[in-house]
Subunit: 428 residues, 2 copies
């Protein structure tokens, strides 16, 4: 049996406490599986006095995470504070400079500073691991990085923010508006302190940027993501989509095209019978498509004490086994700069609009679509009492440019009652 | 960049050819990801002359896999011949004795000889890896062994034989009998040369035995599996189960109970809305439940050239990175001997029977069930033309012993028209 692997843990929120619990309760299992004892030398958090439901008396306390990260009795710095800058980044850099491996759950830090941190770690021959940063307990980093290492990855997709999926699922099941369910979720404590991180799609986009880098051998490029949150998803669209056999999900999609790397995080329609369409509530799902393996679907809890701590421990165990490797799947210096491509790939679209109740209104819309080269696959006009008629259209595959042109030209027809809604249908 | 990692590949069927293709086509990707070139020194197969659609002229040919496995220019022996004994086992042993790492897709060999091979490998400080042996392209070994290393595993379940799932799905969709669809699948080449390996559940049970060992730290115990194939699944049961909201799957389940390790591979009912219930056709799914992570679901292609070769390459890449470790998740010498427990855990059951068309017949059955302590949850009696009445019963959770007693006592009631069918309902 080798020497113990000694951790310094900064951040004792839900996840930090979960990690401490696993290390205590599963000590025998962990040493059987890794061949080493895993111990905690020291911990750090903002408030020393807070009751966290576990005793920390066996561990040294450091007020300053940088001091913790550089202690002589720490082999691995476990960063669970969060935040893209500030103490998390300072302590991570200090740890790497002091020759410590790092395990982090910090998606924001990696999405923004991942390249610099990876270069620093690799220049020192150290490991920086972050399974917990993406999709909680689902071992998606390991799957992409290692399990599918023999594949050229074609596409990565995922529902990676449980709060958004909870809100969309609750809207559908209750028939209530976005505003009502947002307030409900906020009241239940399901949202980040800054809810925009969740509902604005930022948290999920951080995760997508990390997955893209591993999948396509490009530098993490958060700014290259075409980003739209769920705030504008209406209950009318959820209901209408369901009526056409679809669900609306905040879906992240990354794929390499002839024009570059396309990364989107936006509300999309997916078939209700697909695994993504069947994903209700706070669960996460990641779909990976490789040239050899075909499609792999991974599903599990995307957040919470146990799942996230489980992912942190996977990284800790790999380090205990002495396994090291590039941070993003290949040496950071060899990662290409992503050529950000706006979505050029053709896709079917869902359109919802209200038309003034005049004969020939629908024909005008059909004409405009046809002239722009947008072909109609299915159409449904609802019976109505109001002076405008709700119309749903599912198009055949079309480019975004053609669709934009059609939407533009509709404005001149005089038959629109309000703004049309257009949502991409992702083929899954 | 380190020295190249040199492979010797024995077995050039579908999977072997797939591995050769990946190594050629993805050479740049593989060396970027592992830091080493991956090369093939020599190959071996039964027939040298056969056209495999790829040129093998760059590789030395060995008629004898044992000779291949021990060549000086081979670092890793890749065993893709199959068969629990014979050349596969001889060559694997020879490779390990000669100091070569081994990668294999051979579930039968591991299910029967896994413990001895693991002890041999570990005594030499070598790695024996087998991601391709279970669920094809799905990285389930890696997930269980590494991704969930911080978890005490509670239960592992899976649909791990695509041919059986294809047959059951086709029966449901077509309304045809088992015999008709079996003949169809056989004609399409979907079944093993010995179809009993598929439809008898043996292939899937081999896989379950391997997963159990990693999950629970026990020696592989294929003989301890309670095994039943799909030959007795009738179209009547598939239709009736669907009517009650269930699907019938050949489901493997392993869990540790107070009495020991329970391993079952048998047709079970699962809710049609669960991920397992929604798994149609030849796809595989593995569900893993850990104390920290909760439930993780993995889905993908369970067979075929690309998916299986993808899994082989994951193992090869890990070895190229210099990662070694215990064969079954912890040192083979520390694995416990499994105490095989027949299913004692209570479960709901599905019962289908035909009753003679006499007043009070159903009451007699209900009485017998009640006397045995089996409580009825739902019951459905169908209208009928025949002199007997079809009846479906879903019980509350009951022990297998109580159910057996009830079925026994039904024989004395004089109201049964034919043998009742009883199938376990797995709570997923």
């Amino acid at each position: 049996m080798s020497d113990p692997l000694r951790l310094g843990i900064a951040g004792l929120g839900t996840v930090g406490v979960g990690v401490v619990r696993i290390i205590r309760q599963q000590a025998a299992l962990l040493s059987a599986r890794t061949g080493r004892e895993i111990t905690i030398s020291a911990v750090s958090a903002r408030s020393k006095g807070r009751d966290r439901g576990i005793s920390l008396s066996g561990y040294a306390w450091e007020d300053d995470p940088v001091t913790l990260a550089t202690r002589d009795d720490v082999d691995v710095f476990v960063e669970l504070m969060g935040g893209e800058d500030g103490p998390a980044k300072d302590a991570t850099e200090a740890a790497l400079k002091a020759g410590k491996h790092v395990v982090t759950a910090n998606k924001a830090m990696l999405a923004i500073h991942g390249q610099a941190l990876a270069e620093l770690a690799e220049s020192k021959g150290l490991t920086l691991r972050y399974e917990a940063a993406v999709a909680g307990g689902i071992p998606v980093i390991k799957t992409l990085f290692e399990g599918l290492a023999g594949n050229e990855i074609k596409r990565v997709m995922g529902v990676m923010n449980g709060s958004c999926n909870y809100i969309l699922t609750r809207m559908e099941n209750s028939g209530k508006t976005y505003q009502e369910i947002f307030a409900e979720a906020d009241g239940l404590g399901y949202l980040e302190a800054d809810p925009q991180l969740d509902v604005g799609g930022i948290d999920a986009a951080h995760k997508l940027a990390i997955l893209s880098s591993i999948a396509f051998g490009t530098k993490v490029d958060f700014d290259g993501i075409q980003l739209e949150g769920i705030e504008r998803v209406s209950i009318e669209d959820i209901t209408a989509a369901a009526d056409m056999g679809y669900k609306i999900k905040l879906l992240g999609v990354a794929q390499k095209t002839g024009r570059g790397l396309e990364q989107r995080m936006q509300p999309c329609l997916v078939p209700e019978t697909s695994p993504l369409g069947q994903l209700d509530g706070g669960t996460n799902m990641v779909v990976i498509e490789g040239d050899a393996v075909g499609q792999i679907v991974l599903r599990g809890a995307g957040a919470g004490e146990g799942p996230t701590a489980s992912a942190v421990m996977a990284d800790v165990c790999d380090i205990a086994r002495g396994w090291s490797g590039s941070v993003f799947g290949q040496p950071a210096a060899s990662l290409e700069t992503a050529q950000s491509a706006q979505s050029q790939a053709a896709a079917p679209y869902y359109l919802r609009m209200a038309l003034v109740d005049k004969p020939g209104a629908l024909a005008k819309i059909a004409t405009v679509l046809g002239e722009a080269g947008v072909s109609i696959y299915r159409m449904r006009q609802y019976e109505h009492d109001a002076p405008s008629a709700p119309v749903l259209i599912v198009t055949h595959k079309t480019t975004h440019a053609a669709l934009e042109a059609a939407l533009e030209n509709m404005q001149g027809t005089g038959v629109l009652a309000g703004e049309p809604v257009a949502l991409r249908i992702e083929e899954v």
